[in-house]
Every structure is written in structure tokens, then in C-alpha cells.
Amino acid sequence: MQEARWIFSFLGKSKYKLYAAYVMSLLFNGLLAANTVLISRIADDVLTPMFENLKIPTSEVMQQMLPLLFLTLGIGLVAALFRFLSNIFREQASQKVTFDLRNALYQKLGLQTRDFFLSNRSGDLINKCSGDVDVCNHFLCWVSFSMLDSIIMLVIVLIVFFSVSWKFTLCELALAPIAGITALRMGKVVRPIFGEARQQLSRLNTVVQENIAGNRVVRAFAREPFEIEKFHKENDQYFDLQLKANKTWVTYSPILETVANTINATAVIVGSLLAIAGQISVGQLVIFTGMSWMLNSPMVQLGFLINDFQRFRVSCERVRELYDSSVEIKSPEKPVEMEEIKGDVDFDHATLTFDGNPILTDINMHIPAGSTIGIMGPTGSGKSTLFNLLTRFVDVRSGSVKVDGIDVRLFDLNQLRRNIGIALQDVFLFSDTVESNIAYGCPDTPVENVYASAEDADADGFVRKLPDGYDTIVGERGMGLSGGQKQRLALARALAMNAPILILDDTTSAVDLETEQYIQGRLRARAKKATTLIVAQRISSVKNADCIYILENGKITESGTHKELLEKKGYYYHIYQIQQGNISAAESEVQQ
């Protein structure tokens, strides 16, 4: 019931709507009963005398009957209205909960970082936010109503039965414990199966999703049969689990049904025996047999309700898991107020470890506002992680990272990130227009800024050649564009922010040197010079930086200007030799 309480707590003011729906549903049932009474009165008081005594004039009969008939019509209209409103109210109330849950979960996802996304597959997250929320909605809207109906029905029938004959009632209830035990047992058995089925659906979701996202790789390796086999495995497993849940249902529900229907039959048998023995009157027996369906139907319902309730519990738990998931990195309660950030960046003995393995060790960098630094180093040496510290995708284990002399952990997270324009190594574009993609970080920016940023990133030319220019919708992840084009859009996206700090994480690896040089020139010419941090593999990308850092195995092993580093004859010099070697060989060739 804990889950039910939790979901009910989302109703807020809408709970009155739900209560109103409950009340109207009860009133509707009451009106139905009233109608039955009215009809039987017409039969007994008007029609029976009329047919027995043919001398009564028709007009007199009509005079008696018409008011009653109109009353049934009126009751019918009101009852229909109640039921209609009850349905609408419950839909509205539970949709409100669905709406709030969807928003809350979405916002939660926005707060999560690395570790969370590592341990939660996107197929699972999508399911939690859509399918599982829908199951909760179904519970509020339908299952809770059926539960209430059943309970009220049971209470009424028991009161009537006990008041008529307690002996008879006890006989009737003798079998009830069997039903109760069966239902509880079924609930216990079926719940883990529902849980597995939901998880399996998530796995299936993941396989299909990856197949869609990775469709180029699948085609390139002609792996369609392998993918289909992978899909079959999960699809069949889902099929099996669904049937396993059904197996539980068909194991227990016949017992419930037999017990429930036997109660009906025994009502007649025991009632008749008691009548024959003179313990009850035939009239009382008619009441019993007429009402025993009210005892029977909640029991038949019980099976369905337990089933649905367990399904709800499983989904609700999954939703809650996401809802309650802890957020590791959040804004401080009282963030430092900053009107404008200048752009000084400091890494002060910054150290980071994952699972005990050092990722970054004692990083010290002082980057004055407006300057440009370059970072080079082997694949996987921790270059991107440096930026993650600055943008707070991870927090340092010890030491600190500062902007304008203030620890980044003291800023409001959004304010901090809004002051950093970043072009990530792994380009992700959204399936939206080129213009919206460039303006992603500043949706209200004037188009002129979008165009200017695109020009600075050397993207304007190819964008204008696209079928709809800036209004062309690019594919999810930028599919359909070349690597170089994607990188240039990502760069334009970062530039459009006009942020005081700019991070370029291997942003020009897929563009040719000429283009890169053009871009660098444009960056230097920008009106407001941002503090720029460049990660690159090419000497040409970082050569002109104010300071170049070499990162190896999470440590800074060299730093200095291009000239200084060449003199050191270390890693940088070595890379320079390799790249220059190719060039000078080429140059001598050209001169020939």
C-alpha cells in the first residue's frame, strides 16, 4: 500500500476531483438500485392490479404510471450524467498525476551525471518515464475504483446477510479464507514475474534502440542476421515471461473463480436446506440468492485486482527508483553571486580518482582571462576529464578548480555552465533544424548571431548549400552529415554562446588544415576574446597558444610555449618531429 500512498500524494488538489469521481460513481450505483426499486413498484402497484382487474380504465393507469415512468427517465439521465462526470474526473485527476510525474522524472534526468547514466541503459529510462508511468495512471484511474467498488459491495452484502441470518452468512463465508489465501499467494508469485517482464521490455527496448542508432555499422558489417538473432532472443524472452505471468494467472484464478461461484451455488443449496428445515423463510432465501452475486463478484474481481495491483507496484517501484535517485552533483544551497565572469581559470592541485584508480593527479594550471592554452597527450590520458572538472560533470577528489578565483563548486551549476561554451569531442546533434542546433545553448539569440557563429566555424558555406539552408533538419546524432560538418556545427554551437570561457575538445580533427587555420583566424578576430582551452592531436592546432600542457597518464609532464617545449625535447618535441617530418619531406618535394 506504500506505493499507492506515494502515487496518491501526487494528486495535490486534484484529489478532490478524484474523491468527487468516487462519490459520483457511488451515487450512480445508488441510482441504479433506486431505478430497480421503482420498476418493481410499477410492476407490483400499477401493472399487477391493472392486469388482474381489467375494468380499471387505461387513463387512470396511465395517470398512476406516467409520473413513475418519468421519474425513472429522470433518474436515468442523472445517473448517466454522474457516471460520465465520474469518468471524466478520474481521467483528469490521473492524467494530472501522469503529467506531473513525467515532468518530475524529466527534470530528474537533467540532474544526473556520469555514474547514473553508466548504470542505467537508455531503454530502461525511456520505459520508466513512459510505460511505467502509464501503469501508475491505469491504477489511479481504474484499478483503485474497482477496488473501492468491490469493498463497498462486500460491506453492503455482509451487513444485509448478517442482519437476515448469521448462520447462513457464516456458512457462506466458510470458503472465503481459501479465496483470500489463494489471492495473496498469487500476488506473491506473480510480482517478481511482472518485475522481470518490465526489465525484459527494457532490454528489448535497448536492442531495438541501438539497432536504430547504429544502423550504419550494422549495414557496413552485414550484421543484419546477427542483429535479428539478438532481437529474437530478447523478443522470445519477453514472450516467455508474459506467458509465465499468464501461467500464474491460470493456476490461481480458477481456484478463486470456483470458490466464488460455489458460494453462489451453496447459497441456493444451504438456503434451500434451511428453508426446508424452517430456519428461514422463502422470502429471505430470495434475498440471499438475489444478493449473493454481490458476494461472488468481488471475489472474482479480487484475482484481477491483485494482478493489476502487483503490476502497479512493480511499475511504481521502478518509477520511484528514478524519482528518488540521488543526485551527486548539485548547486550549493547559497551559490556565489557573480554579475559577470571574467574568465580566469585555475586548476589548483586538482586530483581525481575512479574506483581507486587515479585519473588526474595534482593538476596545476593558471589560465588568465582571455588567454589560450593547448592540451596534448596520448589517447585516454585524461584530457577530456580536465574539462569535466571545470564544467562539474565530476568533482575533484582533492584540490580545486576555480573560475575567477572562486571554487567552481560554489557557483550555481547553471550559471557556471552558461559561462562556458564547449564543443565536445563526441559530437551529438539533435534532430532539429541547423539553426536550432547552433542556438542550442542560447535559444533566444538573434539569427545574426547564429549566422556569425556559423561563419566563424566555417559552417555557413555548407549549411547554405543544404536543401533548406539553416532550416534543414539534421538527423539524430547529426546522421547524414560528414564528420567535418558535424564538428563545425558543434563548434558554431559553442561559439554562439559568446561565453567568457571556450572549450574546444578535439573539435577540428576531421576538418582539413586550411579550414582549421581559417577557423583559428576567426577565433582570434572575435570581438570578445574568450579564455580558450584547446585539446588537439595536431601541433598546428595548439602552436599559437599562450601555453601548451602535455598530459600523460593523468599528470602534466610538460608545459610552456611552443618554443619552450621544443627546447625541452620531450613528448611535444617528439610529436612535432613526427608531424614536421612529414611536412618537411613534403616541402622539399614541393620545392623540387
Binding site: 391493472m50 393507469v61 471524466i88 494530472k96 513525467r102 555499422v217 589517447t379 557556471l416
Partner: protein, 590 residues
């Protein structure tokens, strides 16, 4: 380019089309026996449930007045037997329809998935992936209930209605006609709302699809969103989409809920009319019992109609999902094995283009009469400005698209007549877009050749120098990775994808910007690996690094969909044409 994004509804025909339902029969047919079985069990169970009232009547009319305890007990025993039979029948029905229903779900989903494997890239590039996903997963789940239980129940209700009509007619024909009088009114109502109702459910499906698409993309791009501090802005978009979906649902469901009250009120009106007409006009020809029985039957007559109207609602809803499912199934497959396609034999590696014309969109040719021949073992670099057609040439070698005219041949076999599998399985393509599947690192390498042993996978990783970083990871080759997580850097992903290609041991190798994110030291090592890899294989390389290009046997400068220059490095340099310009400008950039 008809492209779609998260907040654009997909257009669908507005007329209700029973075609979709008829088409779904194709899936139902296979489980005909199960469904017929389920129907028979239901019927038996319904008949059993009718026996109890009969028993009650007998008890009151006969057993109690006659104090016939023995007959009572015998009849009671029999009744309890029917109770058990009923439970068994219901059990069988539930089992039959569950098996049929889940099988139908499995079949439809499989067909969708298999079809997805054949669709062109453009299909995936032109819409949010969430919109495809929701069809394969959610919609398919939504249709199964109507296709099994719904169908059975509709039949049961019709049988039920038929029986009641027979009873009524046998009792009193004229009053029966009075009961029927309510039907046209009901039919007019249903007919008049049909269009709005269908639109409402289509709209609801659209809004749901938009919501899911945005959600899915948001999850995958969360990193970017956070980097740009756009969470609250996106939350507002999500809120808008959720709101639209809620409104669309409430609108549609309100229409559905309006049907029941109509039937209820009609039922009351009919009841009124029976009493009125019975008393006013038929008083002399009617017995009281008949009148009361008729009203009770009239009420019972409307119950199946009310139930049918619920199934009707469900059907409208189901059809709006079915049409999207079938729409995806009908999505044309442009590249497929032709009739009598031949399996390409083990290839030597000669690739030739003969007067190839290609266009993505009509009358915008991307390649204009391209002809060349690559000899087996030759390495060819493709250079030229962005959008000139380099990637297109590469895509055509693997037959990712169909030509407008001309022939692409491998070893003299026109690849348009060969099976796709036999072409692509002999080709290794390293794309710009690396994709990492969720699973372990070794599984991702093995994607290149499924029967490779662990040792072979590790050997491939060693050759591209990926072993260095993999062995440093917490679980080494068994570390779990996926597309979105940032366990791997871009360079590491490229190395993995390289190992994957190497493992597949292709005859023809295509490298499309394959090493752009790898650091120089590793690249030098990898270059050695590449050189070895290129030996005895025909290869096509698209790259920006001069060193990679220069070493190729032949360089083709592609410009505006044509081969502008072709020859080896020295020859092209002497020519002092486009390639020379490119090369020297790159040098001055350094």
C-alpha cells in the same frame, strides 16, 4: 527532404480505413485454432453460467415446497460441477488467448524489426529515433489485446445479442420492434462522431510519439544539454509536449466516454416506451409476465450493445496504432537483393565504376558520370572539398544506395546483381561514425567476425594498439561499455572500431576519416598496422592527413561530383593542378 522532428506531427489519412484491420488478419490467421478454441471455451462457460438461475428457480418452485432434499442435493452437486467446468473453461480461454496474443505481438514486432534492417539510411536520418522505437515497442503492445480478446468478446457479444433477439421475437414481435427503435438513434450518434473520434485518437498517438521521441533523444543527448545548461529550457519543452499529449488524450477519451451515457439513456427511453406502449396500445393483447420479461430482455439487449461500443472505442484506438505499424512496414526498401541475386564468389578486389550517375534527390546529381578502375590490392585516396562526393563513392561501393545509371562492378560482377550480404561481408568499412553497442569491449570487437575467439579479438586489438588502454581498464576486455557512457574517449572508440574492422579480414577496405581522433604517437603505430592491413587488399581512404594520403598508390581528386584529377602523388604534384594547390595550402597552414 521530408524530414521530421520531435514537435512535428506525422500526417496520416483522415478516413477510417478498415483495410488496416483486414490486414491484421494476416497475423491472426496463424493462431486461428487457438482463437477458435478460446471462443468455444468462452461460449461453454457462458452457457454454464446460465444454469445457476435455472437451479434457483427449481429450488424455489419445486424442491422447497416438496421438501425434496435428495433432488436438491443431486442438482446442487451437478451445479457445483458446472461451476468447476466454468472455471476450467475460463482457464483454457485465458491460456489460449494469451498464447495467441503474445504470439501476434512477437510476430508483428519481428516483422517490423526485420524490415528495419532493410530500410535505407535516409529513413533513420530523417526522423527522431524515438518515433521508430515507439512503433516497434509500445504500439505493438497496445494492439494485441484488441486483436485477441477484443475480437473474441465482440463475437460473444454478437452471439449474446442474437440469442436475446430470438427470445424477444418469440415472445412479442411488436414490442421487439419498439426495442429496436432505439438502435438508429445510436447508429446516427456513432456515425456522426466517427470522424472526430478517429482524428482525436490519431492526434493522441501523434502526441504520444512526439513525447517519446523527445524523451529518448533527451536521454541520449543529456550530456550536451547539461554542458549548455539548457535543462530547464528543455524541461519546458518536455512540459509542453506532455501537456499536449495529456490534452489530446483527455479529448479523445471524453469522446469515448460520451458513448456509454447515450446507450444508457436510450435504454431508459426504450424501457419507458415499452411500458407506455404496452399499457396504452397493447393492454388487451398482453400478459403481465410478457411485459415484465420484455423490459428485462430489453435491458439485457442493451448490455451487449454497451459492451460492443466499448470494443468499438478500443478498435478505433487500435486502428490508429495499426496504421502506424503498417506504415512502417510499407516503408519502401530501396536497396535490396534483386530477383535471382547471385552470391559474389570470394573476391580478388577489382573495383570499377563505369559511367556512374547518382543523385540523392531528383535532378540534383551528386556524382556525374564517374568512371575508374581500382586494381586488386591497389590503395586509392579520395580527396577534395566537403560535399564533393567522396563519401558517396564509398557508399556506392558497398551498395548502400542504388545508382541512377552506370555500373559498379567488383571483379567484373555488377554488384547490383549480387546479394548484399556477399558484398558487404567481404568488405571492411570504418566509418566516421563509430558506434559502440552496449556490452563488453570484446563483444564489440567481435562484431567484426562473430566466430572469432577471444584470442583473435585480443590479437586484433593488439595490432591496432588498443590493447594498451584496454588492459588498463578495471575489467580489461570485459569492461562494459555503451554508446552514451563516457568510458571511452573518441580516440579509443576509433581504435576499437579499427580492431573490429581488422578482425573481419576484408578483401576491400574502406577507411573514412578513420583515425582523426587518435593521438600522433598511437597513430604512427597504427599507421604501421594500416600499412600491413592494406597489403594485398584493395582500399579506399578518405583522410585529411597528408601522410595517409601520400602513401596511397593513387589519389583521386573529387570535385563537384567528378574525378578532376587522378594519379599518384608525384604525378599529381608535377601536374601542379588542384591536388598541388591543396597540398601546398595545407603545408602553409602548418
Amino acid at each position: 527532404m521530408a524530414r521530421n522532428k520531435f514537435n512535428v506531427d506525422e500526417t496520416l489519412e483522415s478516413e477510417f480505413n478498415a483495410q488496416h484491420l483486414i490486414r491484421s488478419l494476416h497475423y491472426i490467421k496463424k493462431y486461428k485454432k487457438l482463437l477458435i478454441g478460446a471462443f468455444c471455451f468462452s461460449l461453454t462457460s457462458s452457457v454454464c453460467s446460465l444454469l445457476l438461475p435455472l437451479f434457483t428457480k427449481n429450488a424455489i418452485d419445486e424442491y422447497i415446497p416438496n421438501k425434496a432434499v435428495k433432488s436438491l442435493l443431486i442438482a446442487g452437486f451437478l451445479i457445483i460441477m458446472t461451476v468447476i467446468i466454468q472455471a476450467i473453461c475460463n482457464r483454457m480461454r485465458s491460456r489460449c488467448s494469451a498464447i495467441a496474443g503474445q504470439s501476434i505481438v512477437r510476430d508483428i514486432r519481428t516483422d517490423l524489426f526485420v524490415h528495419l534492417q532493410e530500410l535505407p539510411f535516409d529513413y533513420f536520418d530523417s526522423r527522431p529515433h524515438g518515433k521508430i522505437l515507439v512503433r516497434v515497442i509500445n504500439y505493438v503492445n497496445s494492439v494485441s489485446d484488441f486483436l485477441t480478446n477484443g475480437m473474441i468478446n465482440v463475437l460473444l457479444e454478437i452471439v449474446n445479442m442474437g440469442l436475446i433477439i430470438v427470445f424477444m421475437l418469440s415472445m412479442h414481435v411488436r414490442l421487439t420492434l419498439v426495442v429496436f427503435a432505439g438502435l438508429p438513434v445510436f447508429a446516427i450518434y456513432i456515425f456522426s462522431i466517427k470522424r472526430i473520434q478517429r482524428r482525436a485518437w490519431q492526434r493522441q498517438a501523434n502526441k504520444q510519439s512526439n513525447f517519446t521521441a523527445y524523451l529518448a533523444e533527451s536521454i541520449n543527448g543529456e550530456r550536451v544539454t547539461q554542458s549548455f545548461a539548457r535543462e530547464s529550457y528543455n524541461a519546458e519543452i518536455n512540459r509542453q509536449l506532455a501537456q499536449e499529449s495529456r490534452e489530446a488524450y483527455l479529448h479523445a477519451v471524453t469522446i469515448n466516454h460520451s458513448i456509454w451515457p447515450i446507450t444508457f439513456v436510450l435504454q431508459r427511453v426504450v424501457q419507458f416506451a415499452i411500458y407506455f406502449i404496452g399499457v396504452y396500445y397493447l393492454r388487451n393483447s398482453l400478459a403481465l409476465g410478457v411485459l415484465i420479461a420484455m423490459t428485462s430482455y430489453a435491458n439485457r439487449f442493451w448490455t451487449p450493445i454497451q459492451n460492443l461500443s466499448n470494443y468499438y472505442n478500443q478498435m478505433i484506438n487500435t486502428v490508429s496504432y495499426l496504421e502506424r505499424i503498417f506504415q512502417l512496414m510499407d516503408e519502401p526498401v530501396s536497396v535490396t537483393d534483386p530477383e535471382g541475386a547471385q552470391v559474389l564468389p570470394d573476391i580478388e578486389g577489382e573495383v570499377s565504376f563505369d559511367d556512374v550517375v547518382f543523385e540523392y534527390e531528383k535532378d540534383r546529381p551528386v556524382l556525374k558520370n564517374v568512371s575508374f578502375t581500382a586494381k586488386p590490392g591497389e590503395s586509392i585516396a579520395l580527396v577534395g572539398p566537403t560535399g564533393a562526393g567522396k563519401s558517396t563513392i564509398i557508399n556506392l561501393i558497398s551498395r548502400f544506395y542504388n545508382l541512377k545509371s552506370g555500373v559498379v562492378a567488383i571483379d567484373g560482377h555488377d554488384i547490383a546483381n549480387a546479394t548484399l550480404k556477399s558484398i558487404r561481408s567481404q568488405m571492411g568499412i570504418m566509418l566516421q561514425d563509430t558506434f559502440i553497442f552496449s556490452g563488453s569491449i570484446i563483444e564489440n570487437i567481435r562484431y567484426g567476425r562473430l566466430d572469432a575467439t577471444d584470442e583473435e579479438c585480443i590479437a586484433a586489438a593488439k595490432r591496432v594498439h588498443a590493447d594498451e588502454f584496454i588492459s588498463k581498464m578495471p575489467q580489461g576486455y570485459y569492461t562494459q561499455v555503451d554508446e552514451r557512457g563516457d568510458v571511452l574517449s573518441a580516440g579509443q572508440r576509433q581504435l576499437l572500431s579499427f580492431a573490429r574492422t581488422l578482425l573481419s579480414d576484408p578483401r576491400i577496405l574502406i577507411l573514412d576519416e578513420a583515425t582523426s581522433s587518435i593521438d600522433t604517437n598511437t597513430e604512427v603505430l597504427v599507421q604501421e598496422g594500416i600499412k600491413e592491413l592494406l597489403k594485398n587488399r584493395t582500399s579506399f581512404v578518405v583522410a585529411h592527413r597528408l601522410s595517409t594520403i601520400k602513401d596511397c598508390d593513387r589519389i583521386m581528386y573529387i570535385s563537384d561530383g567528378k574525378i578532376a584529377e587522378s594519379g599518384n602523388h608525384e604525378a599529381l604534384m608535377q601536374k601542379q593542378g588542384l591536388y598541388y594547390q591543396l597540398y601546398t595550402s595545407q603545408l602553409s597552414a602548418e
